[in-house]
């Protein structure tokens, strides 16, 4: 399998009052063609920033890439020209955002918004683009797509809007789809519909997808591989089943236990103590050590390297081999 996307030592942050504050503190990962990668983490961990970095949209949020490379089919995206970027966005890589209500322009009809994307990348007439757009709407399961072309986003339900977002994203047949919390704003029954639709679209065409979410349940059900992020660092990366069966990193473990104890209706919910550090907060050693029940002296002194285990999992923890010995650390 060829590497479609490769992120090498990426650092992202913002500059305020001449001070650089890192948000992503150096991450590495790669994605193969046809692969489905989930990125999980709590708010502020940098998972959305990662997707924006790939898209080259950081500047619109006031952020900059300070270091590292993003390789797309071997080509470094960091120093590509604006023109190259424009032809890539929406065409080779497309993105689906969290809140379809705000991610769609309220002033333009659904049709206009899909057609403009098609016409930005394909030399087709307006008529052809419209026909293609209708086809896309049909593909994402929107009933009577012809009439829906002239409808404004606010006239649709949340689920329909997200389908429109998806139709728009796939309209130029991108190789990679980045879905940033695509169902967070949706109801449970609709969430299931949308996630099913997405995974079908991806598997059908052998596309790749990065699914960004805070919901472990979603990841467990829809991704082949999961990367866990915390405070701008990668904590762990594993195939899904292995991750949930035997998390290597204390943070992953804490998250999973937390969710499980809620699901299992236990009296006391397991929780990770403390709170997510703020961007700009300087933490010596491991970023998680202050909240880690397994922390040893080294954790607060030295940053753990990311290690690749024998079965191809990656983890960034000094003590990951000893975790199973301590039971009930999170309670």
């Amino acid at each position: 399998m060829s590497k479609l996307l490769e992120i090498c030592d990426l650092k992202v942050g913002f500059t305020k009052n001449d001070e650089f504050t890192p948000v992503i503190k150096g991450i590495n990962f790669s994605l193969n063609k046809g692969e489905n990668l989930g990125i999980v983490g709590e708010s502020g961990c940098g998972k959305s920033m990662t997707s924006l970095a790939i898209m080259g949209l950081l500047k619109h949020k006031g952020l900059t890439v300070s270091e590292g490379q993003i390789k797309w089919n071997g080509r470094n995206l960091i120093d590509q020209s604006e023109k190259e970027q424009k032809s890539m966005l929406g065409n080779e890589v497309a993105m689906i955002f969290q809140e379809p209500m705000t991610a769609l322009n309220p002033m333009l009809t659904v049709g206009t918004q899909i057609v403009e994307q098609i016409r930005a990348h394909r030399k087709v007439s307006k008529k052809e683009a419209e026909a293609h757009a209708i086809q896309m709407l049909k593909k994402v399961g929107i009933p009577s797509p012809e009439s829906r072309m002239n409808v404004y986003p606010h006239e649709m339900s949340g689920g329909m809007r997200q389908r429109v977002m998806i139709a728009m994203a796939i309209s130029c047949e991108p190789e990679l789809l980045i879905a940033d919390e695509p169902t967070t704003a949706l109801d449970v029954t609709i969430q299931a519909q949308i996630l099913d639709l997405l995974s079908n679209l991806v598997s059908e065409t052998n596309r790749s997808m990065i699914l960004i979410t805070h919901d472990l349940g979603v990841v467990a059900n829809y991704c082949q591989r999961v990367m866990v992020m915390y405070s701008g660092k990668v904590m762990e990366e594993s195939p899904t089943n292995e991750l949930f069966d035997k998390p290597l990193h204390p943070y992953t473990k804490g998250l999973i236990e937390s969710v499980k104890s809620i699901e299992e209706n236990s009296e006391r919910i397991a929780s990770i103590p403390g709170m997510v550090p703020l961007p700009g907060e300087v933490i010596a050693g491991c970023v998680f050590c202050e909240r880690c029940p397994y922390a040893t002296d080294i954790c607060s002194q030295q940053e753990p390297p990311i290690e690749t285990t024998d079965d191809g999992r990656r983890v960034s923890c000094w003590n990951y081999k000893n975790l199973s010995e301590v039971v009930g650390a999170y309670e």
Binding site: G159, V188, Q191, A192, A220, I262, E263, S266, E267, I272
Partner: protein
Amino acid sequence: MNEAFNMKAIQEPLMEIKKLKKHFPIKKGFFDKLKDKTELSVKAVDNVTFTIYKGETLALVGESGCGKSTTGRSLLRLIEPTEGEVTFEGKNILSMKKQDMKDIRRELQIVFQDPYASLHPRMTVREIIMEPLIIHNVGSASERVKQVEELMEIVGLSSKMKNRYPHEFSGGQRQRIGIAKALALKPKIIVCDEAVSALDVSVQANILNLLKDLQDEFQLTYLFISHDLGVVKNISNRVGVMYLGKLVEIADTHTLFTNPRHPYTQALLSARPVIDKGLQTERIVLEGEIPTPINPPSGCRFHTRCPLKTERCMKESPEMVNLQGGHSVACFLAN
């Protein structure tokens, strides 16, 4: 846990909600009125009846627009219900005068969903938590300050932070402030309107634990409104499921999760992605969208999406029927 509740169930009801209705009229222009005389309205809550028992946590679940928040707010008269009766300790609060209502508000408090929007951005934490004390004229100035500090410690905030503004806190901390404020008047019941929905998993766990601790400590009753079935399963003793303004099923938590009888409840449970594959039930993916509450479907409101619908469902609206214990369902097929 559920067993424990069944013992409590014998206890007296704290709040009774009978045939609660809230219809929001849709304003029509002068000319529209000339053309069409019928009044349109959003039937947000339609004939909902249930009881909250002392010391329990009753959860209301449902998808957006099902009327769960409207119901919660109607109990506090933050929204004036169109019809129905809400009694608190035997007194109908909907017919109460202003002053009586103000007194009763000490007993009824609310914690909102959005920890960012629900706190006054220009008040310090101290002012925010003291606000209920001032409004209800509790204690002297120095007593109030002391009380604020106590409350902050109770919800796990350092009283050193009392002079900070809400935006200087994280989401979890804000929700703690909101809870401290709700606790200030020592209420009997707190309506938690999606109180943990906006929080991250690890923070969510902290807040849920806090709520549980507080319930034990202060003998609180919760009406817990949420769309998250996982959270509901964990915290509540009983669960009511709402769909499009109607209560479709109500039962104790264990019964509801193990033996849901309404097709909607079943679908809802199955749609929830869980990480423990053992808990995953067979997927029922519902077709279509939730209809608008302006013109809700005739008959059973769920019939447009129900995989099991019959002729009858389209014509008649099913009533709530008590199956056994506290388990009631509004579905023709459940009997």
